[in-house]
Amino acid sequence: MKIKSAYSTQQTVRDAVEDLRQQLAATQPSMILYFASSKFAPEPLSEAMQGAFAGATVFGCTTAGEIAAGKMLKNSIVAMAFTRAAVKNLTLALVEQVNVKTGLKERIGQALDSLAKNSGVPVAALDPHRFVGMILIDGLSLAEENVMECIGDLTNVTFIGGSAGDDLKFSSTHVFANGKAYTNAALLVMLEPAVPFGFIKTQSFKSLGKKLLATEVNEAARTVLQFNGKPAASAYAEAVGVPVATASERFMKNPIGLMLDDEPYVRSPQRIDDSKMVFYCNIKKGMELSVLESTDIINDTRAVVEAKKKEMGGISGIINFHCILRTLDLESHGLLDAYGRLFADIPTVGFSTYGEEYIGHINQTATMLVLGE
């Protein structure tokens, strides 16, 4: 078996890690990817996971809920074991102080150079059909857009991943590597899969054709002051056809998005602050956004997974970076089990994120790295 996934609902670090070790160690993994509830103390967990799989490269992050094959979980740890038949080579690099913009591009450049070192070519020349990047980043750093933009400037390799969570406490999130836990950091991983690979980006929204032009913003604070020259909250409320006082009730169903060839890149509103709107993602001045309306997450996800399976001739594993807002939406409609069952027959690992990464930073989306057979 090239790829095997497992989960543990044991309640202590020691018991959960031992449970995972018993399920996965026999595969003799060269790489272990894991996602853990923030209920587990981060430093002891990272140290224990590294110790349990001493021969493997072990990394992961904290979550706002976990995903395993057939299951949507809470307060658990999920893990995926990869043998060299699935991933030939991998390298890790850590970028710390990601919320410090000064020198960020240089630091990311150094990290990417170290990831490319073993390949013998500069990172700018790495073949995106041979390599794939993964990013796990502090979900409270507000740095995802800057980090992803720097990565995108410096390499053509696609980076996919998620923003670490902390079970909706919004206190502290961690990434795990080298037996340690890091906050205010991004873990960059360069993978050379031994199997075909592809991506799924699915967000279950359609455009309503109504436009909002960001005419005044505070980009660093992810805040829009004005859309279409009007107070942002008023313009949004008008576009969705409700009073400002109840506009926040429409956030889940009617986020906004940048459109490219009918494909939305979602920006989710977080709250109304006086007449301003705060988002989970930055919006630049001059960006033209479309008002979106939600469609059916279960049917949409089933369709894209089936299509990818057909396109790739089979799937040996999925890593699912799944927005916490989608998880909450599914939960409110009693559909979490139905969503989990979509992945029942596929080795799957994933987590509910505070943001999704795929080329850039996006919201209310599931980004998935799909490994073929």
């Binding site: 995106p128 059909h129 857009e145 933009e149 400037d153 053509n156 940048l258 890149y265 001045k285």
Partner: protein, 67 residues
């Protein structure tokens, strides 16, 4: 001369993608996320100096030299 912005976008995409269909799509997405609403520019779009300046900065960020 109208249409300069569309020409600059095409030049950035062409140099960065080197003809790869995958990279054409990826580069267009990167431009979108950097704030260029690429679908709205045509051969007759006015040469907005602010957008032209922004595209020159973006080209530099992406290591594109032909713009």
């Amino acid at each position: 001369m109208p249409g300069k912005i569309k020409a600059m976008i095409e030049a950035i995409v062409a140099e960065r993608s080197q003809g790869s269909i995958t990279l054409i799509s990826t580069t267009r997405t990167k431009l979108l996320l950097k704030g260029i609403n690429i679908s709205s520019f045509t051969d007759t779009s006015p040469d907005d100096p602010a957008v032209i300046t922004k595209l020159k900065e973006i080209a530099k960020e992406l290591g594109v030299t032909s713009v």
